[in-house]
Amino acid sequence: MIPPLPKTPLLDARGVSKRFGAVAALKDASLQVGKGEVVALMGANGAGKSTLVKILTGALGHDGGQILIHGRAQPIGSPRAARRAGLVPVYQEPSLIPDLDLAQNLALGATPVGAFRHWAAQLGLPDLTLDTMINRLPLASLRIVDLARALAAEPDVLLLDEMTAALPADLVHRVLSVVRAQADAGRAVIYISHRFTEISALCDRATVLRDGVTVGDLPIKPGVEERIVDLMLGEGAISASASAARTQTPAPTGARPRLCVRALAAGTKLTDVSFDLHAGEVLGVVALEGQGQDELFAVLAGARKALRGAVQVNGAAVQFAHPADAIAMGLSFVPGERAHALLMQRSVRENIALPLIAAPRNWGPINMAAEAVQVSAAIARLQIDTRAMGEVQRLSGGNQQKVTIARWVAKGAETLLLLDPTRGIDVRTKRQIYDLVRDLADQGAAVLYYTSELAEIRMACDRAIVIFGGRVVDKIEAADADDARLMRAAYGLTEAEGAAR
């Protein structure tokens, strides 16, 4: 099953195991990467990907197994030691110091400035000034800076964890070609991603983890996706090919829309957005990074004031001064950044129950029995892994994301505002979320669904609006939403005639 490898792999991890108390996060994980290879590391949430990456990069120790670099056992007990051994990671969250400027951050890791500049330019950021404070850079630039810094260290093995999440499409393209060039120059890359399109374009092999065990190692060739999904899901899992069943909703008739937005403007980025959102409908929003979608969601969630324009809920004009106003009108916001929505140190139950009780009129005793019923119903419905009920921060990313949605299921949301709800989570959880969103819509909810992954428009939405430069530039039925058309519109290449009706 394992294809022939170059004689000594650059990195050879065999039988790696790691326990956290009673929970075995890794039981028998193996991963080999040879010179000139890009290997995809794949697995569902909780399969142990993050743990393996942390072990390989020195952020965690391991209990069993051996890790050879260049065929020799080398100490990788700390991030610094791992770097010295030639293993350099780019984590999902940027590992840059927010209160220092770029030059200081480079000095901290002893990164050569010239090499950094070269890679930053290659990756599409030629104009970075070194005295820019890190906390002033947008997330996408931070990730590019992090990657450029890693490349400047000339790593033997580069570990990329969801590198392209939160990146706009043009930067994704540059990242992929730079990473491929690294491999072609004889280095090794471990590439963690949930995006099959990127994996088939970039990777040579895929190593699949399930429940802490390496269950497969496959060369990437056409049609391998289904096999990988089967491996990730395991025996007896639901047929992987079944995509989220989308009931064809009838085109909204003359009924009054649940949410009606007209000529909305906010901040400097959102200039003129109008759309109607009906009950029972999932409306996708497509936009490159920073086209005003964040402002749109913030205004609708009551977190930010609009400069101009009107918002109507069920036909009544509204102006939100506080998120509680939006929640009271049935608008529930699920931010893309899970940490912004959850009380990380509190239990799953408290997190789900919070919107139920967080209204001024509800101060006083909490009806624990009723709360328990609603919460357990929501947990069951979302199939949240409840082994770590005590603290949300101990859940995996996908399960955390489910909690952010579950709280609004428990409350009975009328209008859901989902901002990139599937960012960085695995295929299986993604599908559960698509199904859930569809269920909610079928039960009469109206859903606004921003996604950074174009394919989700077809899988989760009924129709989509495309925002470019703060304006709606196209409206597309999900059935017609092929990537090429969405991409052209997202880049402002198509100005649909009747876009702003």
């Binding site: 990069t57 952020a59 700390s78 991030p79 610094r80 770097r83 990671p89 984590y91 969250e93 940027p94 590992s95 840059l96 110091i97 927010p98 209160d99 220092l100 200081q104 951050n105 000095a107 901290l108 890791g109 002893a110 005295d131």
Partner: protein, 324 residues
């Protein structure tokens, strides 16, 4: 230039506030002159060292509640050893006391890192430990101090080969603070240790992933704080000629100056100059209010109010800049 102003806006604002207060003092008390400046500097001296010590740990994302107690230990060990010692021996004693300070700070830091008990709990406990230690060394305000040490902070500065008129207005006490901080902090701030201190305070996870050793950096920050607290303790002995075993009001005053000086209590943000200027601002406000014969109880209310207003203004200005 504008970039410099942007980065150091808070410090420049404090300097302007201090200048305005000096003018106000002159208006309130036309007789305010060199001797007034000198007594201000001497009054501010222990506060300045306590604040500098606190600033270093706060920048590293911690807090040290034992600063005043460490000052007491340094003060009494200096006074006890110098009693009856020769002037030349005093130099060695100063060095020894500074080492004791460094060690006390390192112990604080090591306890925090090794036991993983929160810094606020460890240093609260050590507040009592160092306080008891100081009383074991010296039961009451007694002991001695070398004359040359006492002279170090008395009166205006006079340098060889420089006309007295140029330097005499500058209190020696203020010069001492500047020299000590320059010698201790500038090399640190310019080195990787300084970056690491800011990094650990700003985002420990990112710092760890950038290869910074969190434990070593934290211990170093606490050790530097202990060293600066030892300077503060010595300055007490220098000012009074005897040891002070009971910790003075330096802990809360240091936290106040750190906040007023533009350092984020969450760590990673700010510098050393701002808090030191804040010490002088707070001391001068107190002096002015005393000159105006305001009730001392009202004085503390006014001090607290000033802090909230200044920090609020800073927040508003920052918010406005972000909104732009």
């Amino acid at each position: 230039m504008s970039r410099f102003a942007q980065k150091n806006g808070w410090t420049l604002g404090l300097a302007a506030l201090f200048a305005g207060l000096l003018i106000a003092t002159k208006l309130i008390q036309p007789g305010f002159g060199l001797s007034g400046l000198d007594s201000l500097a001497r009054a501010a001296l222990p506060f300045a060292f306590a604040t500098a010590a606190m600033t270093v740990v706060v920048l590293a994302g911690g807090i040290d509640l034992s600063v005043a107690s460490m000052m007491a230990v340094a003060s009494v060990s200096g006074a006890r050893l110098m009693e009856g010692a020769s002037e030349a021996e005093a130099a060695g004693i100063v060095g020894l006391v500074l080492l004791v300070g460094l060690a006390m700070g390192a112990i604080n830091g090591a306890l925090i890192v090794l036991t993983r008990v929160p810094d606020i709990v460890v240093t609260l406990s050590m507040l009592f430990v160092w306080e008891g230690t100081a009383l074991l060394i010296l039961q009451g305000p007694e002991g001695g101090c070398a004359i040359w040490l006492r002279d170090l902070i008395l009166g205006g500065l006079s340098l060889p080969f420089v006309p007295g008129a140029l330097t005499e207005w500058l209190p020696k006490a203020a010069v001492l603070v500047a020299v000590v901080l320059a010698v201790v902090w500038v090399p640190v701030a310019r080195s990787k240790l300084g970056l690491s201190i800011y990094a650990v305070g700003s985002d420990p996870l990112a710092a760890f992933r950038s290869g910074v050793s969190l434990g070593r950096t934290r211990i170093a920050a606490y050790a530097i704080a202990g060293l600066l607290a030892a300077f503060g303790g010595l300055s007490l002995t220098m000012a009074t000629g005897i040891g002070a075993p009971i910790p003075g009001p330096y802990l809360m005053a240091a936290v106040a100056a750190v906040v007023l000086g533009g350092v984020a209590l969450t760590g990673g943000k700010g510098g050393l100059l701002g808090p030191i200027l804040a010490v002088f601002v707070l001391r001068l406000v107190r002096m002015d209010l005393t000159l105006l014969s305001v009730d001392p109880n009202v004085t503390t209310i006014i001090e607290g109010t000033i802090m909230v207003i200044v920090v609020m203004m800073g927040g508003l200005l920052a918010a406005r800049e972000r909104g732009r």
